[in-house]
Symmetry: D2
Subunit: 344 residues, 4 copies
């Protein structure tokens, strides 16, 4: 059985695991105040072109999301996001638990637009009773999105302009950032992300690490006391160097990006295989997620050999199925899937 | 420079790291729903003698503490603890952030007594305006305590009796549980802990794992929806098997306890060395922490070779210093420290 | 200038004010533990036919809403409501501030349906990863709704059935309960509300009192410690009898209902006046709110004499305007408005 | 039976009630945006000598306390207070419910000192791991205190100096402000309070109003969005003018202060009566609260005619009893109490 159902079902890249092995017997300062974290942070700052950014290493995506949002917002402020945004649908209300409303707009292809953001921000800004409404103060978007799509540079710049107009923070969830930046045909670089966002993170968990997300705070307003917020929410790893070492490995020789590029190319091959076989896609994506509209029979047949992720029933005879490649996907797995699709 | 300042300054036991290496290329279900976690949970349940307990693997101690407390308490309820309790002094107010008051009692030797618990519980129970006061509903204590002491079985049983009298939950913070249970002269077993507590955890971070705490929920009332609480607080590791594998290694062949026993014996040797050298201790401990009352000159001299932890100035010429052994301490390090103390 | 813009722009019914005057020099127990509150509670229980219900007097609607919701839900649980629900749009995120997500469904005529509730509840109940989603545990609806409509008994019964099916609490916001129950053509009684809801409140602020909402808890599960929740949220009035006295006056001789009936009849006369004048309504209502689709010119003309509430621009030449009658509306005001509309 | 057990057991001063009566039929803007509130705010600003302060009218003291604290602090910040402070002991953990720790110091005569504040602030400021501790950011004190004592101007100035040294906000709970400022022998004026505090409130509930506290925000940093905080916590009274009218009455012709002075003088007479009768006091106070150390027999005898408040048993034969005068106390009640004490 070949698992291509998600991008967090295997351990880590060999380079990552080796980094942990190498330093296992060394003693370090606790809580992220060690030289390994400092080296990793420097690599990320340099690669992103933001030499004065703060970099913090957290364990997971939900944790990074709600802590960034909580640390940026005051109690009466809310965060604008797509209704399909991860924070709105798959984090057990972590943002609300932290006291903040998600002001949602209907996603198109997994994305929200500058116009949608403006409408929500303008509603508050133009209200005669603004204190009766939560104040939108942050925009949250994912790159790549939860459905495998990516924002273009123009789309992000337009959202940034609205953020400037209404004094909103822009927060980019980068749980799948490497896949997003290496999207086939994409035009957004890490430098672009760092130049446009007030805060973002480079996901590790889905991108080659055992675990870990590197939060990059670009806006000075958001820097103070972030570590206190982390600690208060149980998000300051005692042995912080475990995170630093993983990101040092990922950001050495662009490993982080190379493995994502490969995963995206594998995904493209799966799409090609579907096209050749006349099997329609459920969504158009350019990253590591492929959404295929199988017939029930096709799904049953392919499931004998592959574990894929069921998304939803699309009609009485069809189901939307996700194939998810990753840094861990091997070429023989893709070859096998290509052959299986051809044989449907 | 030999670091004996804390018990979380090195990676993990070789068996733990090897376990992660071994399964690195295997694909698993996410979020702790995998066979490795199930095996580890079974080992812990068996060792603790609570076959029907729920076991959840969290990443760190602060996280485990506030999530257990939040999941057990309703908004108007509080937790009783020693004023020196970790939740009260070193977690950036995580419990209050989760909405709950810590009702503190002055610690004696790092511990609270059944009588202190009763006094706080009775104050609420006997109040004519109980709704103006938070309702104490849980007792939090640490085994071993933050200052290296341990509760006796009689002390724990007395606290349990008060908990039964006032319908309080007993929560035992086991960040250093293995050291506590293997305390020199101690009389408490893991079965005792599991038999007395409503919920407790077996700490991994300080006891041989890279990271991780195994929360064991014994009381059925506290079991439902605990995973939702975890997820909501960003405490559900995507690759849960990383935690399961570490605890499986620790609870195989009693490794968890053996390395703690060794660390405690090393600590005892340090105490003996001090006694022989006529250097007084700052606190009497039977676990892996030794608190020494050095003169400034002694501390300066020992610091040339050892990194120890400064606790506080005890008078104009003396300082309280912590030596902390751990699963990672090697005999040659203890020999070196014995010699250095003898030479003071 | 005649104000008919809202139903909370004047003090209180003379009977209410007189009740406060009468007891002004008497000394009472604090915090609602007085005989006046007890008498008022008894009147409400009797009128609603729920002799064992708990009755608590709170100061305002937002306060009542979030405290009822917070006291009923656990951290991972959410409340289902119409997207136009007051808690979702006009309470500055009070529910999210209390840690809970509003799971919204698009309102039709200000209402949600049993089918919409079922869809949301079933989504969680049928999920294979329920712990990643907030658990819907309560349905919130308003009677009358924010847009002046009312639920029929059949609609409420259908929602109740879904609540039973999925173990949801039904919470009815009664900020305008008297208007809702006295709706022209309505078929719902206070006994029906009390028989269907787990918890609801009889609004005072908009229905004849100076301030105050009487929360009625029917379901035993929701009763314990409600006063502690109130106190913790600053919602326990020190001089509780001020609330009790007002509700005693309102529930004596059915005053609460009579004045609402009159207000609804006045509203009906305004609708009739529009119909005669050929001026369309923006929404169909049977309670004390009338939504009129004026031309800009009409609105300008009517505004010379009346203060009404602007709702929204409906097209380039029309605006939706709310006329709101209340317990304080006098017949001469309605006569004046009828004449003014006829003169448009 | 004469009730002298507390200062919130009767309605309001006649002037207050008359003010409400007078405007009962007038229509106003909602939510405190009316001319009555504006007039009352102006009176308070003028009397306090802070023409640019923001004034907000809230309903009660617990509500005022936690909302002021929540609006001023960020999640990782705490408030310093006496262990006997109202927020620490009688508000059901409202401050912790809002997410903040109370950093307590032992009260002396109900008060904390500048040195105690400095010690707590310095502990954080000098910590090498400040992110593991909550950051003290506000000092909370009550004037008069919960035990009837008052701060001197020198004491307040010393605390202010520490606040300046450590960038702490000073928040003065004025639930009994009028009694505190009119303390027999006191040297603190309303102008002093407004000059020293960043935010404080003039209590109405215990000082002649039916209900209501006037929060005065002096520090510009604390002004923005306070109304949003109020609304979010259900503390924005729909009919805000009810509060404005009461405070307008209280701050007309110094009524607020005159009635407090009279109450304090009545309390002094009670103390004198005890002195003459040789009955010791339990605490020395100069405001409207008198704490008497009765024998059980004395307490039984006095209780036949007076309802006083039991505080605690002081030894096997004595109890501490509170006599509380107020704006509502009549001279004949004091005469009766004087006679009763003399007859013990």
């Amino acid at each position: 059985m070949i698992r291509l159902n998600c991008d967090y079902c295997k351990g880590a890249l060999p380079e990552v695991l080796e980094a942990l092995q190498t330093i296992n017997d060394q003693a370090f300062c606790g809580y992220g105040c060690d030289e390994v974290c400092e080296r990793a942070a420097r690599l990320i700052r340099e690669r992103a072109g933001v030499p004065s950014a703060d970099v913090h290493f957290l364990v997971g995506g939900t944790q990074a999301n709600f802590i960034v949002i909580e640390s940026a917002l005051r109690p009466w402020q809310s965060v604008i996001c797509a209704d399909s945004g991860h924070i709105n649908v798959h984090e057990t209300g972590a943002v609300e638990h932290a006291g903040h409303k998600c002001e949602t707009a209907p996603a198109h292809d997994g994305k929200i637009s500058a116009d949608q953001v403006r409408a929500i921000a303008a509603n508050w800004a133009g209200s005669i009773i603004p204190e009766h409404i939560t104040q939108p103060k942050m925009v949250y978007l994912s790159m790549a999105t939860e459905t495998g799509s990516v924002y273009t540079l123009a789309e992000l710049a337009a959202i940034r302009a609205v953020c400037d107009e209404f004094s909103l923070y822009l927060f980019i969830d980068g749980a799948r950032l490497s896949y997003g930046l290496e999207a086939i045909g994409g035009d957004v670089s890490l430098e672009d992300i760092a130049g446009l966002a007030d805060v973002f993170y480079c996901g590790g968990t889905k991108c080659g690490a055992l675990f870990g997300e590197a939060v990059v705070i670009v806006n000075d307003e958001l820097k103070p006391h972030f570590r206190a917020n982390m600690k208060q929410n149980g998000a300051m790893l005692a042995k912080g160097w475990l995170l630093g070492a993983q990101f040092e490995a990922l950001f050495t020789d662009d490993l982080y990006f190379k493995v994502a590029r490969r995963a995206n190319e594998y995904a493209a091959r799966v799409k090609d295989a579907c096209a050749k076989a006349g099997i329609p896609l459920f969504a158009q994506t350019t990253t590591n997620q492929v959404f295929i509209n199988f017939t029930d029979a096709q799904y049953a047949q392919i499931s004998e050999q592959f574990e894929l992720e069921f998304e939803e029933r699309t009609d009485e005879e069809h189901v939307a199925i996700r194939v998810c490649t990753s840094w861990a996907t091997r070429e023989e797995e893709i070859v096998a899937l290509e052959e299986a699709i051809a044989a449907l």
